[in-house]
Amino acid sequence: MITVVTYDGSFEGLLTAVFEVYEYKLAEVAFSRSSNYQDTIFNTTHQVVASGDKCRRVWKGLEHKLSAKALGDLYKAFLSEQPDIDNVLLDYIRHVFANTVSVEQDFSHPAVLRVVQMARMVHREKHRMEAFVRFQLTRDHLYYAVVEPDFDVLPLIRQHFQDRYADQLWLIYDARRKYGIYYDKESVTTVAMHFSEEVAAGKDIRSIQDEQEGLYQLLWQQYFSSVNILARKNTRLHIQHMPRRYWKYLPEKLL
């Protein structure tokens, strides 16, 4: 019999759930991020409330057996939001605790392989966001950017932007997941907010833009078209590196 384990959708929640899978000796489980679970008469449910303590104990246990890279991969795979990933993570963690040696390179194990592969995809998306964020300056000296990443990568890019733009106010807003990260020159906080569609799409914010913003966008567009070498045109390669779905927020592709 499958037990449906519901939790709040946070990483902490998932690790708590893993703890309870052991605690209650649940054999076959399916995870559900609470909001989207529909009760069926065929399953029993087990409700998890995220607990800092249980979560830490699982993490500590993993830290004993895995490298920092592998731990990072677990988190990244989690951020992929793939429907099966919670179960994959459970399988992975079970495999870790069932062995005395580190299994993180046991790529012939399906869960290990899938975690590494998803982590790589998430990592690539993180990289892309570090590249494709485009700030616009507002009158209040806020550098503001909108993104729609394939995966939930804001938690992964905050450090990079905090280090790099330490002396400016900035905000990066994930229009798909409806939250942002905001830096006030001291620290980064997560902010939930709702923009109107137009503002979120970066359109028509001219009214709140700094007066030089338009000029620099124009100059960037000019630069982008000037560096092109027509004799070497290669559209396939261009699109492979800069997939169309990202163009919406790139001033250089808005021509």
């Binding site: 790099r164 960037w220 390669l237």
Partner: protein, 419 residues
């Protein structure tokens, strides 16, 4: 404020003139933002890609395209009838800072035509770097292309502010340089390379002892040569590159396929295609030299001085050395696995890590993402199924080419996908 149209026009002219310089790398330096200033320098991010698929990482411009010299292969040459422009020092600083703050770029790549003389020009390049670092506390990437003939003092100052310095040799051999750039002396390029190498070594040594020693061009130096404008063989070109790597500890050598820009009869005619496949093969060979433990003579030799344009140099080497194959991937050395066509460094390392848990078979390899369509001719694994036919090199080459997978045909970019 100066007129928007004028600055836009300058940018158009001076970005256009700089674009044939292919190096765009912004990696190799680890400048931290520990003064709460602006910027970091890390692994090098490509913020955009041009429509020809090249990485846009740096604001790559000339300070000016006025030039007193007349190098035949260069659009900015004195005798060329083109629009000229020059930025002011402040304009370059403002552009860099404002692009950087918007996350358009990783930093600045600045070079220049030579106006009045080498030192006068070089002084301005250095001043820009200095202003960025000191007035704006800018920690992003700065690459300066040094001006041949500039004084050692200016070179030295440049190294204190820049992450990377480059001295472009332009032509693979002295003879070609004489032919096409009679104003330039190869000596003026080799000497500063030598000087920079010594400065870099010296600063690195001192830094080990005294932490407060300023960094000197922490991302090292690089150079560039134009290929396909003159008749050098790949053996000559790679031999030269190899020397630069060894003698001057260069970080990168860039190969720039000549884009015909003039009807000078010393050069390939206008309309001659850019040698993109060759350029790509040279980059692949260069990678084999730097990361795969190959020597130049394994890749090209006096008997076969040209790279094979149909297939990449690693496959080409393997076909010439079939007696070494097949190798057993559950046993062989990492070094040898790296040499298998189709298997890159990442895959090779994964194989060596994973084989400790399980004897690997084809299924494992596939799942791990090791591309085996090509590798299968050269390896055996934990499976009774392997290539038994005693195929000739020609047959293997044909079968691989017949795969017709675009992934294996030349990739027209210096940002290549490897093997």
């Amino acid at each position: 404020m100066i007129s928007e149209d004028r600055i836009r026009e300058k940018l158009a002219i001076l970005a256009d003139a700089a674009k044939y310089d292919v190096s765009c790398s912004s990696s190799g330096s680890k400048r931290k933002n520990d003064n709460k200033g602006l910027g970091t320098t890390g692994n090098g991010i490509c913020h955009a890609y041009t429509e020809d698929g090249r990485c846009v990482s740096l604001l790559k411009i000339l300070l000016t395209n006025h030039c007193i010299y007349d190098c035949a292969y260069c659009v900015s040459r004195k005798s060329n009838d083109i629009k000229r422009a020059a930025f002011t020092v402040q304009e370059v600083v403002d552009l860099t800072i404002n692009f950087y703050r918007r996350n358009y770029i990783e930093g600045l790549f600045l070079s220049s035509g030579i106006f009045s003389n080498a030192d006068y020009t070089m002084e301005r390049l250095v001043l820009i770097a200095k202003k960025l670092r000191t007035e704006h506390r800018f920690n992003g990437y700065i690459h300066l292309k040094t001006i041949p003939g500039a004084s050692d003092e200016l070179m030295k100052e440049a190294g204190l502010y820049a992450d990377r310095l480059s001295v472009n040799v332009e032509m693979p051999t002295e003879k070609s340089l004489q032919l096409l750039a009679p104003d330039k002396k190869r000596e003026d390029m080799i000497k500063p390379m030598h000087y920079l190498k010594e400065q870099i070594v010296q600063h690195t040594e001192e830094k080990k002892l005294i932490k407060a020693t300023p960094t000197f061009a922490p991302a090292g130096q690089s150079t560039q040569m134009v290929i396909g404008a003159t008749p050098e063989t790949d053996l000559q070109i790679l031999g030269m590159a190899d020397q630069f790597y060894r003698r001057f500890q260069l970080r990168r050598v860039y190969y720039s396929g000549y884009v015909p820009i003039s009807n000078d009869n010393r050069l390939p005619a206008l309309g001659t295609p850019v040698p993109m496949v060759r350029e790509n093969r040279l980059y692949q060979a260069d990678w084999l030299l730097r990361f795969y433990g190959f020597t130049v003579n394994e890749i090209v030799s006096p008997d076969a001085p040209l790279l094979d344009m149909d297939i990449d140099p690693k496959l080409s080497w393997a076909l010439r050395n079939l007696q070494l194959f097949p190798i057993d991937i559950n046993q062989a050395d990492l070094q040898l696995i790296k040499r298998v066509p189709g298997i890159g460094i990442g895959s090779a390392e994964k194989i060596v890590a994973a084989r400790r848990f399980n004897k690997l078979n084809w299924e494992h390899l596939k799942k791990m993402g090791v591309p085996i369509t090509r590798a299968r001719y050269f390896i055996t694994c934990h499976s009774a199924d392997f290539e038994r036919r005693d195929l000739t090199p020609v047959a293997i080459k044909q079968q691989i080419l017949a795969l017709g997978n675009s992934k294996y045909s030349a990739n027209f970019s210096p940002q290549l996908s490897m093997f």
